[in-house]
């Protein structure tokens, strides 16, 4: 028997491609955000509203990650924003090499912001760095306020948290405690920006837009 010290990051191959993406985005000076959430939290609706509302100010390009279908890419393309669909064919997350290929297909020069909509999954995508400037986590009120504590990885790593579907809180149909969700998220991540929104009726979206504009300017 012979023991060999390796001491290597297991995801170093992914990190290598992520670094290429960092360089690519740096050269083009474009902001890139990686949006992560459970399936059905409203990522695509947030995107379509954001793209439409910001049309005259911020040009957005989208990389859509889904296990199957191009349903989401079709929804995005109805806004006229450029979109590249990646089908992972079973994989539960996007990897940096897939994003690298997609970035080269987007008209990056003509964009101000690139948003990657990751595969709907609150766990796996948070481990795979894509070379983005920041991760955005979306939590919809219907999922429950205990998610930051139950899935700490993504809440600890994200730059911003969008609590979506707050229109459902009216009428007392949900027991979602915004205070609890935000307190728990901030315990894990003191600097996380939190936006309570309804992508359906537009409530709270302006603060998110302001943050996007500031983040682009700060690049």
């Amino acid at each position: 028997m012979k023991k060999v010290d390796i001491a290597k990051k297991i995801l170093s191959e992914n990190d290598k491609h992520a670094f290429e993406n960092v360089m690519f985005l740096g050269q083009h000076k474009k902001l890139c955000l990686n949006m992560i959430s459970s399936p059905g939290s409203g990522k695509t609706t947030i995107l379509t509203r954001t793209i439409t509302d910001l049309k005259s100010k911020i040009r957005v390009g989208v990389i859509e990650g889904d296990i199957q279908t191009d349903i989401d890419a079709e929804r995005i393309s109805r806004t006229k924003a450029p979109v590249i669909q990646i089908n992972t064919n079973g994989a539960c997350h996007l990897s940096a090499v897939q994003v690298s290929a997609a970035l080269k297909k987007l008209p990056v020069q003509d964009l101000d912001l690139i948003i990657i909509e990751n595969v709907g999954n609150l766990v796996c995508p948070s481990d795979f760095d894509l070379g983005e400037h920041g991760k955005i986590v979306v939590l919809s009120a219907a999922e429950g306020d205990d998610k930051p504590i139950k899935y700490p990885g993504i809440f600890a790593k994200a730059k911003a948290l969008l609590i979506n579907k707050i229109d459902l809180l009216e009428g007392g149909l949900l027991d979602f405690d915004i205070e609890r969700a935000t307190t728990d998220a901030r315990r894990l991540n003191k600097d996380i920006k939190i936006f309570s929104v309804s992508a359906r009726n537009g409530e709270g979206m302006n603060a998110w837009y302001d943050w996007l504009a500031e983040s682009i300017k700060a690049l």
Partner: protein, 114 residues
């Protein structure tokens, strides 16, 4: 089940080292940070499936989980974070800074020698 992707990358590194050593890998020691959320059973299952019919077939994985640490801003101590109840272990306060998570590391591989 991101363990499948992790297992694939893990076995690629081990296979590369096995070719360099020209020896069969018997076991590997891995350390996982808390935020990686690795499930041991899923990782072993994925590795077993991917390693089948390759030189890594039958490799044993020894998986160590490293606690997430934080530094208290008030009393300055470093402590292991209990994620369900994140508080400073000394003062009980919530004013702390998370330290970088340990990540996913392949520490060492044991090879069979003749």
């Amino acid at each position: 089940m991101h363990e499948a992707g992790i297992a694939q990358s893990l076995l690629a590194i081990i296979s590369e080292e096995a070719a360099r050593q020209n020896a069969r890998p018997i076991s590997a020691k891995i350390s996982c940070g808390t935020l990686s959320g690795v499930n041991d059973e899923a990782l072993r299952f994925a590795a077993e499936a991917i390693a089948k019919d390759t030189p890594c077939e039958g490799i044993k994985l020894e998986i160590e989980h490293k606690p997430l640490q934080a530094q208290c801003r008030d009393c300055n101590i470093t402590f292991d974070v209990e994620l369900s109840q994140p508080r400073c272990s000394a003062c009980g306060g919530e004013n702390f800074k998370l330290l970088p998570d340990a990540g996913l590391i392949l520490e060492e591989v044991e090879f069979q020698t003749d």
